[in-house]
Amino acid sequence: MIQAINDAMFEEMERDPRIVLFGEDVEISMFGDTKGLRERFGPDRVRDTPICEALLTGMAVGMAAAGWRPVLHMMFANFMYTGFDAIANQMAKLRLMTGGQMKLPITIMAGFGGGRSTAAQHSDCPYPLFMNLGGVHVAVPSNAGDAKGLFKSAVRSDDPVIFLEPGGRGGEMGEVPDGDHLVPFGRASVRRSGIDVTIVAISAMVKLAEQAAKQLAQDGIEAEILDPRTLVPLDEDGILASLSRTGRLVVVDEARDRCSAASQIAAVAADRGFAMLKGPVRRVTVPDVCMPYAPVLERSVYPNAERIADVVRELLNCRDYQ
């Protein structure tokens, strides 16, 4: 996936000279996603910054307002909290506040999520916050091909996009289609077809859902796996279409449970899909705790294939609604 994002950056920066990449350690590139760009595009368009997220997010707004297309790399998604003012108060609002005068083609990218014992301040999953802002798109790829296609759509969008790479398990392989591969926002992808239950899995959770689906298949349960790919816009129709085929919904999200993306998806199902439901909507999420350090503790709260499979089995045994 990292290589796919790196390829996307090369291609897009080649295509559009107004794209400028800046952020912390983009020249050396800790994750590898920005590797080689400085050599290719020079210090004007690719540059390291001081560690001052509050200013950097504001700068992205200023650059975009002045006609450029900034890509801001923030390493770990937790650091977006430090830069949150300009994301929440400026980036998400200025288009509306200026009556549409201001176009803000900004991409902010960061790795997110737990699973590598990086502890609470490097493991967060902040997209529920961004989903609530209204004025920013949120892209959460689960595989290399989508990462490339969504990144290209992000930098070509005239609106702000938060692009989150599943950091802990970021090296997911997968086919990347040839050519100018673009994935449109707001269109979920069916990763596996099934008739018994829909599992909506976000980003790195897709892989866990696929493992769970294999286990369930051994019991004769066919799960459909849906990857929303973007949370804003959210493909509500795609989710409901899958629900109409299966009648059951489990949402897997590595955000903390309360007000998670899963909460929103569950609410959509309850609101627009109630008549199709054969049982309650279930969520597999992280409990409302900070991510602990010890691997044994982290594993105890993090979603895994067994938890997903168990929830699906419980749901299929729930007869009350049938």
Partner: protein, 330 residues
Amino acid sequence: MRNDYHNPDPEKLVAMFERMLVIRETEEYLGAQFRAGELPAGVHLYIGQEASGVGICAHLGDEDWITSTHRGHGHFLAKGGDPYAMIAEIHAKSDGICGGFGGTMHVADVSRGILGANGIVGGGLGIATGAAFAAKLEGNGKVAVCFFGDGAANQGTFMEAMNVASLWKLPLLLVCEHNGWSEFTRSEVATSGRIIDRASPFNIPGFEADGNDVADVWRVSGRALESVRSGEGPALLVTYTYRTRGHVEAEVNFLSQPYRSEEEVASWVAKDPIERGAALLAQGGIAEEEISAIRARVKASIAEMAKRAGSAADPDPARVRSMMFSAAEA
């Protein structure tokens, strides 16, 4: 030709005097409208500080960028924004410069380089630094000017902006309009040391001007902008001034007691930038009748715009959802 920043010529002085009057007349009108219950929200008036914004913006063109504070009407008008479109915006009308979506704290005109007043104290620091980075990449002599108050100088982003702008030699003029108050908190309570002294540790030249004397602001900011335009990096300018009105016009409704003495306010009213501007014009040989004619002309023009704005159409609620994203609007 190298500008002479020792003294503005009479023509320049007349233009700046007129621009200060536009701000004053517009804001007197808006204050009165608020008190009469005609505006949906309180307004933060710039009255008393006009010389600061006008003296600086007189050196800027539409291609230069500014960011402003929540006391931003003055900067908007000083940078050449249309008074009618601003008044209509504050009246929440569809003719408003932001279509009624922004309001008093958010007036912006991107076509004139006005990247917006900002309701977040210090909110413009990052935006102006980004615009200055853009100007540097374009390499065409544009500058970005960030207006902020002494209260915002205590935001971390002020230090962050000076660090990045100095490192990258960005064409950024940071303008601290020091009016002595952060909302209802006296500057001495909120600010340690002198704000101007915060520039030198970042290798940034500091400039200070009498913020109630438009000629002094014009001279000093001219020198500061010359430094910024030379490619040597940012500069900090502190203009010392005072808001003779409240933090927000609505404060009379919620403050239980005054927070500053009548003597303090009176001492600054005596230094009113408009009357000092008029005195400068008189000293420069401009006839009293001509000065009166300018006053009358501005008054009539703002009154006419105000009348028009007050009766303009309301914005259409159907546009709210589609305004969030460009794709939705298209």
